[in-house]
Each structure stands twice: as C-alpha cells, then as structure tokens.
C-alpha cells in the first residue's frame, strides 16, 4: 500500500515549542528584570555609601584642620563645591569687657554651603558651620602708639532700625575687615600713620599742642560705610578729624587731605582731662563726652562734663555743658576718667562711667531717649588708670580699678546706685601695669609676672615674665 504524502501538513509541535519557549523567555526575562531592579537598588545604596565615605573623610579633614577651602575642588570623579553663606562674630555676654569699640568676639562663625557630586550627579548638599578665631585687636600698651582696630559689632542683635541705619542693603558692612589694621605713632609735632605697612606723616606743627597730647579714635557706620573719627587733644586744645575706612585702606592721598583739616568746633571745652567717643542715640554719629577739671577755691576738684555733637547744618561740633560733679575732694586731676560702654556691641546709645577721685558717676541713657539717669556711688579708692567695666550678666557689671600693687573688683547693679565694697587684691612688691579682660578671665600684668584670675578672684595661673 502506498501512502502519498500530503503537501499541507497541520502538525503543531514547533508552534507549541515556540509558545513554550516564549513563555519561558518571558518568565526568565521578568525574573531577570526584577533581579536587575533589586541589584540597581543595591548599586544605588553602594554608590551612596561610597559618597558618604568620601564625605566623611572630607569632613574629618575639615575637622582636623579646622578650616574649609571655599570654591570648587575635584577629587577623582567627585566634585566638591563650598560657598560662604555668612560669617558672623560670636560674642559672649558673661564676664566680658564692654567698652565702646572694644567688642572682642570669642569666635567667628562661618556658615558654608557644601555640595558633593559624583560624575556630575548631585549627591548631597549640607550647610557646615565652622568656628575660627577672630583677627586680633591691639591694646595701646605704650602711649606713644595708638592702634587702629576696626570694631567687631554684632549686626544680628541690632534692631531693624539700627540695621537700616548702620548696614547696607544686604545688611552687611561694605568692608569685611576687622581688628588691627594699623596704628598712629605719636611724635612731638607730627603723627605717623601706618596702615597695611604703608606710612604717612601728618603734620601737627600748627596745632600748638603740648608734647603729651593724646589721641582717641571713634567710628561711625552708616549704610555699611565705616568712617574713622580722630580726636587729638591736650589740656587746652581739641581737634576732630574724620576719614573713611575705605580711604584709610586704599586712598592715602584722601586721608592726607582729611587729616589735614579738622572739623570746626563751636564752644570747645577747656581744661580737658579725659574724653571718650560715645553715642547719644541708637542710630547716629558718635559724639564726644569730655571731662574738664577745675579746682574750687578750697582746693577741691570739680568735673564738668561736656557733650560735643556734630551739627550737620553748621558742619561743626557744638560743645554743650551737660553736668558738673562737685565735692570730689583734694585729688589729682589724673584721677578723673571717662568711659563709654556698648554692652550689646551694636553701636547703641552708650552709658557713660566717670570715675573722679573716689566718686563713680554713671550716666545711663540706654533706656530713655530724653531723660538721662544719673547714679553717684563711692569707691574705696581712686585710680590713675582707666577703669575697666565688665558685664557680669544682664543685671550687673564689674567695675575694676587698679593702682600701685592692688586692684579692686566692684560689683555694680545696673541702673541703680548699688555697688559693693570689695577687698583689694594685693600683689606685694609688684606694681600692676595693666589689667586685660579676655576669655572671661582677668590677665594682670606686673613687671615680673602675668597673673590669670577668674571673676571669683581665684588665681588660676602665674607666669614669670
């Protein structure tokens, strides 16, 4: 029997095999996809961990160096970008000297925006806050040299009105420099001005000053522009100059012009013993508070306090007698000192402290615009050095006076006439040359030693000099 093979065979094995194959392919593909997806999650986490480790090492390096480089930096495939967001001085409000322009920050706080990218892909952004020490300021330890220190101020604590008056539109000062930038060197008939190692001679020959004339530097800050005020004075003469900080740093020709022509003074005080720059209002230019001394017929010292404020219409400073302190007794004129304070470091209205013999007179204009509070207290002894006023806390100040081998630390309750009677701290056979308050401690300098005391009068250290 012969069977003829048909041309149209309807078998299905291949199709079935293909269907099975396809099903298997789909199953395997989907499993592979899911596995791949999970692996991608793991890969992403691993990449994240690598970035974290790079970041960790970088932060550790920043920590150990206590410095962070601004700008862009490439490490292999990693891009690190650091931008300074803000830089602020940080002030302590406990056991700090609060003389006007004497703000001494404990640190400068820099806030840096830090971002990390890997192969162009952004990985993280964080803000890093880093503290570093402020630029130093100088003391006028030797009277022949008067340092120029650009004051550190606390712009954050300024009120909205103060910020509008003192700062520019970005609520900052135009010049970022702070601390010591130069000095005046006093000679008989001329002044040497040295800023950034560039010297300039200022002629004083025509001013008829005594040989032991003095300088007092003041500052104004208006719309972000710092200006330096210079009072040059002796017993019978007073001259006031003004120049912009920007010129002081970069335009010495303009400084020469500015310091050649004093601003006119109408009704200038005489018998000047001491003076200080101070503020009569929160948003204003500095005025001068002058302590003039006179002896009554019976030989008792009396002090007259003058205010010299700038009158824009007359383009002159106008002197005005504000108060008299009598009954001081038979004391030397060098026992009269006048100090102005800036407890908030915001260039606000300044309380004035006058020590005259054993009298301490406090003029407090801080709380009332129109009425000056006056408090008179008696100290244990007078002093031939400027008193140091230290803020203990929001309610009280320490007033430190020193003379010869001892110093006294009074505790004065703010806005009152309450002051304690302390025991003197004596350094036998040593003369105190200077007391400096820094880091919440007292540094007492004698010819032989440097003593470090806290404000509970515990001696923490004694260093041979």
């Amino acid at each position: 029997m012969f069977l003829k093979k048909t041309n149209h065979q309807n078998g299905s094995a291949l199709i079935m095999a293909m269907i099975f194959g396809f099903v298997v392919l789909v199953c395997v593909s989907s499993l592979t996809y899911v596995a791949r997806y999970d692996l991608l999650s793991a890969k992403s986490l691993v990449e994240g961990e690598s970035s974290e480790q790079i970041e960790e090492q970088y932060i550790s390096q920043v920590n150990s160096k206590n410095a962070i480089a601004l700008g862009n930096r490439k490490i292999g495939y990693y891009d690190i970008d650091n931008t300074l967001v803000q830089s602020q001085p940080l002030f302590s409000h406990k056991n700090v000297a609060v003389a006007l322009y004497g703000g001494d920050p404990t640190a400068i706080s820099d806030e840096v925006s830090h971002s990390l990218s890997y192969k162009g892909e952004h990985k993280l952004t964080k803000n890093i806050i880093l503290k570093h020490l402020p630029k130093h300021s100088m003391f006028d330890y030797n009277e022949a040299y008067v340092p120029i220190n650009i004051p550190y101020i606390d712009t954050e604590r300024m009120t909205e009105q103060q910020q509008n008056y003192h700062l520019n539109k970005t609520k900052k000062t135009n010049i970022k420099k702070h601390g010591f930038v130069g000095y005046f060197e006093k000679e008989k008939t001329w002044l040497l001005l040295v800023v950034d190692d560039k010297a300039k001679v200022i002629n004083l020959q025509n001013l008829d000053l005594d040989d032991n004339y003095k300088l007092k530097i003041g500052w104004s800050l208006v719309k972000g522009v710092w200006s330096m005020y210079l009072a040059v004075y002796d017993k019978e003469h007073l001259y006031i100059y003004k120049t912009k900080l920007a010129d002081l740093l970069q335009n010495s020709a303009q400084v020469t012009i500015d310091l050649a022509s004093p601003i006119e003074i109408i009704t200038a005080p005489s018998q000047i013993q001491d003076l200080t720059w101070y503020y009569t209002q929160n948003n204003g230019l500095p005025s001068l508070a002058v302590a003039s001394v006179y002896y009554e017929e019976e030989g008792s010292l009396s002090v007259r306090t003058f205010d010299l404020s700038f009158n824009a219409e007359k383009n002159a400073y106008i002197g005005d007698l504000k108060d008299s302190i009598n009954g001081i007794g038979r004391v030397a004129a060098n026992k009269v000192h006048i100090e102005s304070l800036d407890p908030e470091f915001t260039l606000s209205k300044s309380p004035l402290y006058i020590v005259a013999g054993t009298k301490l007179v406090v003029y407090n204009v801080a709380n009332n615009e129109y009425k000056v509070q006056k408090f008179t207290m008696l100290l244990e002894q007078g002093t031939s050095h400027d008193p140091i006023v230290v803020k203990k806390n929001a309610y009280s100040y320490f007033v430190i006076t020193y003379q010869g081998d001892s110093y006294l630390q009074y505790l004065y309750t703010k806005e009152s006439d309450m002051i304690n009677k302390p025991e003197p701290k004596i350094y036998l056979d040593e003369k105190i040359q200077r007391i400096v308050v820094k880091y919440g401690l007292k540094f007492i300098v004698t010819k032989k030693h440097l003593y470090i005391d806290d404000f509970e009068n515990n001696q923490l250290n004694k260093i041979n000099l």
Partner: protein, 305 residues
C-alpha cells in the same frame, strides 16, 4: 488482481512516527523550558535573598551613619562648649540626656530598657528589645529659627510663626549657654510661643532656637518568630519629642547591634567594647565601629566622629 486504491491528495492527521517525534521534541523542549525556569527561579531566589540582605545591610548602615552624622544642634555658636541648663520645668529620671551637652550616647540596651518600656506604654512587642545588644541615643534637630527679640519673661518672639506644639523640647543657644526649654503653648497669630519656665541665660535678637527630639536606634522585638522558632528582630527608631514617644521598625531582620569606639594612642587606634553608657562627644573618640547582623550574617561600619 491488483486492486489499486486511489490515494487522496489532501491527507488529514499525522502519522504515529510524526506524533512520536513531535512529542519527543516537545517533551525535550518543555523539559528544557522547565529546567531553565526552575534553575532561573532558584538563581533568582538566591539572588533576591542576597540582594534583600544587601539592601537591608546597606540601608541599616545608611540609617546609622545619617543618624550619627546629623546628630546635634545647628547652633551657630556650636553646641559643645556651652553650659546646658534644664529650664523645661521638669526632670524625668533617666532622661538626663535631654538636659546635658551630649549629642551621642551609646550603651547597653538594659541601661535604658525601662525608659523605653515606660515611654512606649505597653506598645512593645515580645521582649520589647533584644537583650545584650547596644543602643545609640542621639539629639536630633527637627527645625530651627532665630529670635526676633530678646525673650520677655516666658515669651519667645519670632519673625514668623512656628509649628511647635505643647511639650516640644527647644534649645535656646548663645555663646555661653544652652537653655533647654519646653513649649507651653504656641500663639501663631502673634508669632510667639510661651514657655513652661523662663530661660536662665541672656538671649537676644538673632539667637538660635531649635526644636529637637531624642532618638534612639536599638534592636526591637517584632513579636514574630521564624520557622525555627527564633525571635525576629528589627532595627528600631525610638523618638521622644517631649510630649510623646513612638517607636518604628525601620529595617527587618537586623539584630545584635554592637558599638565599639576607638581611642588613639601613639597614632594607633585601639578599639574598645562599650562596657557602660558613654557620651561619645565628651571624650576624644576617633571613630565608632557599629556592627549588626542581617539574616544571621555579620556586617559592620566604621564612622569617624
């Protein structure tokens, strides 16, 4: 005589041989298919388990690293040198971490076991936590702002309203002190809040105020067991914001959390086990080594501090 049968031109069906061949091929193909499928499934399962373990491990490392690296307050003054003052108006025993200067504390879980159990008020499952494991306790800032003016008695004023609520812990920060205070109520209309007690130190405009929580990473009992009857643990986050406490299981199957710390001696690192509760930022520790198990496998991560 031969009889010739006329064959049809179109034949329906297939021959037995064809059927056998087709079936054989089909069986081979299907067999191969199943074999491929089963082995793929097995590989997938193994890969999946391995990947899940990897993901758990990496996630746990990330959670721990993020928690430690972001611990503390972003106070511009720093937050280590200041004196911490408890001005919350209360003092809860075992809660001293809230009021002191430490940012990271580690120790044996039994040291804070009662604290966790008490604060979770019975919502713990099983043993609540894994015995003989360590914990990592952190201060975690959740939001911050600046003072618009100096505090007046119990009131803090801000430039804009804040979302803080009664009982929240806040830290007020200046150069010398950190006052830990507690919110009594929030007056959103006046952009101010009232505190439970007055701050002690002197604060002014621009000073930092931040809300913070107390976070604890620890190994929690899930209340479940595996096929062998072993307790299943997870990496948990306990958080206390002052008014309430909660605990979340972050990553399953994580157990045996242990922390070691490194001290440098002659430029060499020496690793020490945590024997008692210690504050990491109060001493010169160089690094922490955090180890844990995921599905019984050991992992560790070194974190520079």
């Amino acid at each position: 005589m031969f009889h010739f049968r006329k064959t049809k031109k179109t034949q329906q069906g297939i021959t037995l041989t064809e059927l056998l061949v087709a079936m054989t091929i089909s069986v081979i193909v299907v067999g191969m298919g199943f074999k491929i499928y089963l082995s793929s499934k097995q590989i997938y399962k193994s890969n999946k388990n391995s990947t899940i373990t990897d993901v758990r491990e990496l996630s746990a490392k990330k959670v721990i690293y993020d928690a430690i690296s972001s611990a503390g307050l972003s106070c511009k003054y720093g937050a280590k040198t200041q004196k911490y003052l408890n001005r919350t108006g209360d003092f809860e025993v075992g809660n001293d971490f809230v009021y002191d200067s430490s940012t990271i504390r580690v120790g044996d879980i039994s040291d804070i076991g009662d604290y966790i159990k008490t604060n979770l008020a019975g919502s713990c499952k099983g043993l609540c936590y894994q015995p003989n494991s360590n914990f990592i306790m952190l201060k975690k800032e959740s939001s911050f702002t600046k003072l618009a003016s100096a505090p007046v008695n119990l009131t803090l004023k801000f430039d804009e309203s804040v979302s803080w609520t009664q009982g929240d812990y806040l830290a007020l920060c200046n150069n010398d002190d950190v006052d830990v205070v507690k919110v009594e109520n929030n007056n959103k209309e006046n952009n101010d809040i009232r505190l439970a007690a007055t701050p002690y130190s002197e604060y002014g405009k621009g000073d930092y105020v931040g809300k913070f929580d107390i976070n604890i990473l620890y190994i929690g009992d899930t209340g479940e067991k595996d096929e062998q009857g072993n307790i299943l643990y997870s990496l948990n986050l306990f958080t206390n914001n002052g008014s309430s406490s909660t605990s979340y299981a972050l990553i399953d199957r994580v157990s045996d959390l242990k922390v070691r710390y490194a001290l440098a001696n002659n430029k060499k690192l020496h690793w020490h086990n945590v024997q008692k509760t210690i504050d990491i930022d109060k001493m010169d520790y160089e690094a922490l080594k955090v180890s844990f198990k995921v599905d019984g496998k050991n992992f560790e991560r070194v974190i520079l501090v």
